[in-house]
Symmetry: C2
Subunit: 341 residues, 2 copies
């Protein structure tokens, strides 16, 4: 087992067993309280096994996706690969493959979309890290793209990854009905456009400086839906579509992913308070010392906990029709929501 | 007639009548010397009429392409529209529609691709103008996107336009066989990826600082093919595909556009020398005072002129099978190559 795989196994084991949102009241926020009783062992085993099984396929597909024998493209491909192959949990690709497998056991059918999702996610990180945006020098413990290659190259590498993501889906779904492929491309385009990730980031920039009173719960939910949940939504939707799911199935899975994405953000906000006050002994989290609007600020800590639980229950409800077939997605949702702990 | 339309008519008339590359030897570089004899009047009339006829449709489609009734997207849509609706000659959309009309009189079939091409072209300008790249404050006489909205917004607006271009094609070609639509999306992705525009810009950055001796003719051709010609190629190809052209037709039109794009760049390089020495009375053009590698530097002025003519002859040859049907594309090629004069 590679050191990376081992680390991932340890992380997966640790987080599947952990409770995030309210460490003192685990049962109230556990994503799959009922599933847990019946299948805790199976879920944990499956999730680790599942991730271990899928990860090499994902890494291989990502690596091959940028192969080029044209010497003039060597430098830009190097810059694109630097960030695309920088590890990470590959949450979106694995979600995509898991959604596909609910409807077709050949998960390779969804691999082109899985690769495209990671390309889009990666390019959003490259551009986010730029000095004009978050100005981050480190990402996953490595210097960020613009630190290594310069801002000009980082901008171009991000652009090229975004274009490549659509090309990759259009070129590599030959065994699929073209209507399905177009549906996936449409959703990918939507997920990054003004009504997707780019729009969410923009709204976040607009709200950043505003005092709490001027940012509503609707604004906050809009930002999180579009900055975080939208890529989880398109991950499960594209996987399901390429697996042959019906429109009703796709809609259920999207609803699930939307609520998981929002629950993740509420959990993140809560942790910023609880970690610092209850665990780190500080009087307030970093969000509280800035103007940033958070769920605890708008709803209070108990209100935010209740909101997280409501979202988790909503997510669970969407997958009820699938019974045991949904176990992988439910376990992945735990993994996503819990990983901040 | 709107002031903009009037200006465009004047520009079109002026440039169609002008000879660019070698003002003193017009017949040697005129794109369509043989066509000219038979159809000069028709070509000039047609081109002006053609552009006037198509432009309102293109502007309307561009304007509608970013319509959004979601208030949270207002700011990013405003930033995207600021650059998308900033005028310009709409060369790529008009080329796309003209190519479509060679095979189907309903040019509206190609409009989604025409809009996508202008979105991609616009986003490349927004990102090119950023301080980390060309650092331009003005574009078409107006402050550049980042000057008006800030660098962070300009980066996001460019990203969103790129994603939106693919979404637009996927969503608006409902009357087309999905295989055709996928083919267009594949070509658009290719045109902006590492083997397209982004790769060409990257190679340009790499060669910028190098002394002339270290940049070969092949390097220069590679840069121009990928920075300039590639979007003209995909413009005619996508128009032809959506008009129902055969693979052989598409290949001929692409070859035409590739050579037009390269001829434009050679003409541009020649003008930098001839304008400054022969017209402006300076001893050398600005390219000569920098390390930038140009065709005249590599081939000499006469050699560069011969290369321009060779490219133009190649371009013409590709359209010979179409006779009079190719008149619009030939006139547009004149317009593209001549407009620098």
């Amino acid at each position: 087992m590679s050191p990376f795989a081992l680390r991932l196994l340890l992380v997966a084991t640790a987080t599947v067993n952990a409770f995030v949102v309210v460490p003192s009241k685990p049962t109230t926020v556990r994503l799959s309280a009922t599933v847990e009783k019946k299948t805790t062992a199976a879920t944990e085993f499956n999730l680790n096994e599942y991730i271990m099984d899928k990860l090499p396929h994902v890494e291989k597909a990502l690596d091959e996706s940028l192969a080029s024998d044209i010497p003039q493209t060597a430098r830009i491909v190097e810059a694109m690969k630097y960030s695309l192959m920088a590890g990470g949990k590959r949450i979106r690709p694995v979600l995509c493959l898991a959604a596909c497998e609910m409807f077709d056991e050949n998960f390779h059918k969804a691999m082109p979309a899985a690769v495209a999702l990671e390309m889009i996610h990666t390019m959003s990180l490259i551009h986010d890290d730029l000095p004009a945006l978050d100005n981050d020098d480190l990402r996953r413990g490595k210097p960020t793209n613009h630190v290594v290659y310069g801002e000009d190259v980082a901008i171009l590498a991000g652009d090229a990854l975004l274009a490549q993501s659509f090309l990759h889906v259009a070129e590599n779904c030959n065994d699929q009905p073209p209507e399905r492929v177009l549906d996936v491309i449409r959703r990918l385009g939507h997920a990054f456009g003004p009504k997707g990730l780019a729009g969410g980031q923009m709204m976040d920039l607009e709200c950043e400086g505003k005092p709490t009173g001027e940012v509503s719960l609707d604004d906050l939910r809009w930002i999180h839906t579009h900055k975080t949940a939208v890529l989880l939504e398109v991950a499960v939707a594209s996987g399901a579509i390429l697996g042959g799911a019906s429109a009703a199935d796709v809609e259920r899975l999207e609803k699930f992913a939307l609520n998981v994405g929002l629950a993740f953000q509420v959990a993140d906000d809560i942790l910023d308070v609880t970690q610092s006050t209850e665990e780190l002994g500080k009087t307030a989290g970093k969000d509280e010392n800035t103007d940033k609007t958070t769920y605890p600020k708008l709803l209070g800590l108990d209100g935010a906990r209740a909101e997280a639980e409501r979202l988790i229950q909503e997510a669970k409800k969407s997958l009820e029709p699938y019974g045991d077939k949904a176990v992988t997605l439910l376990a992945l949702a735990d993994f996503i929501i819990d990983r901040k702990n």
